[in-house]
């Protein structure tokens, strides 16, 4: 699947999107997997309460299933308007 990062999550990880081959069942499983990769991932995902996630461009909770998901995006709380 494609994993996208925005705002300071993008900056901390150092790239805007990447292809991830994962069998993670839920968003939280994917987060754990990414955390284990490198320090910059661990730093970006240190505090889940400071993050929001969208699966296939819909805002969801971290316990959402990734079954069939094509795109997962991580970002801080939005500041539009």
């Amino acid at each position: 699947m494609d994993v996208l990062y925005f705002a300071w999550v993008r900056e901390r990880i150092g790239l805007p999107r990447e292809r991830v081959d994962s069998s993670a069942a839920t968003v939280m499983d994917l987060v754990e997997e990414l955390r284990g990769r490198e320090e910059r991932y661990a730093a970006a995902f240190a505090d889940i309460s400071a993050l929001r996630v969208a699966v296939d461009q819909e805002l969801v909770d971290f316990d959402t299933s990734l079954n069939g998901a094509r795109e997962v995006a991580f970002f801080p709380p939005m500041t539009g308007g």
Binding site: A7, Q57, P77, T79, G80
Partner: protein, 146 residues
């Protein structure tokens, strides 16, 4: 209903007039416009990042909700992204309803959702460096009333 996401400026006067002309059955038209403000002092540019694949559909969903919940004749959302200077308009919403209460409420609803649910992130660049604008607890709380 019209939802526009763009990096170029929009003309508030033209958009407001056009919206109003299109709403012949409404007695009440409300607009809200958000403008870049130099909060801390020394703001050189405000950069607005967004999530291209999601922004348009998220805004359309919010606008559709507003139209159905308050029986609006029409609704308009324009939101910019990219670099903006102090005084530039960031976004606008417009609502048209029979009665003023509905037009006001729908516009406030749209704004509350845009603030916390539309995939935009603001970054302020000053002479001291750059910082992401933090989401306010008050903005998240504002959603509870709807």
């Amino acid at each position: 209903m019209r939802v526009v996401v763009q990096d170029s400026p929009f003309d508030l006067g033209v958009e407001t007039e056009k919206f109003a002309q299109g709403c012949s059955a409404s007695g009440a038209i409300v607009t809200f416009t958000g403008v870049v403000r130099d909060v801390a002092g020394g703001l050189e540019v405000m950069e607005i990042e967004h999530y291209p694949g999601m922004t348009q559909s998220a805004l359309e969903e919010i606008a559709t909700q507003a139209v159905s919940r308050w029986s609006l004749e029409d609704a308009l959302v324009i939101h910019r992204h990219g670099p903006l200077r102090v005084g530039e308009m960031i976004m606008m919403v417009a609502t048209a309803a029979r009665h003023r209460k509905d037009a006001f409420e729908a516009a406030e609803f749209l704004m509350d959702y845009l603030k916390s649910r539309a995939p935009f992130w603001k970054r302020e660049v000053t002479s001291d460096g750059a910082a992401w604008v933090e989401a306010k607890a008050a903005d998240e709380d504002a959603l509870d009333r709807w």
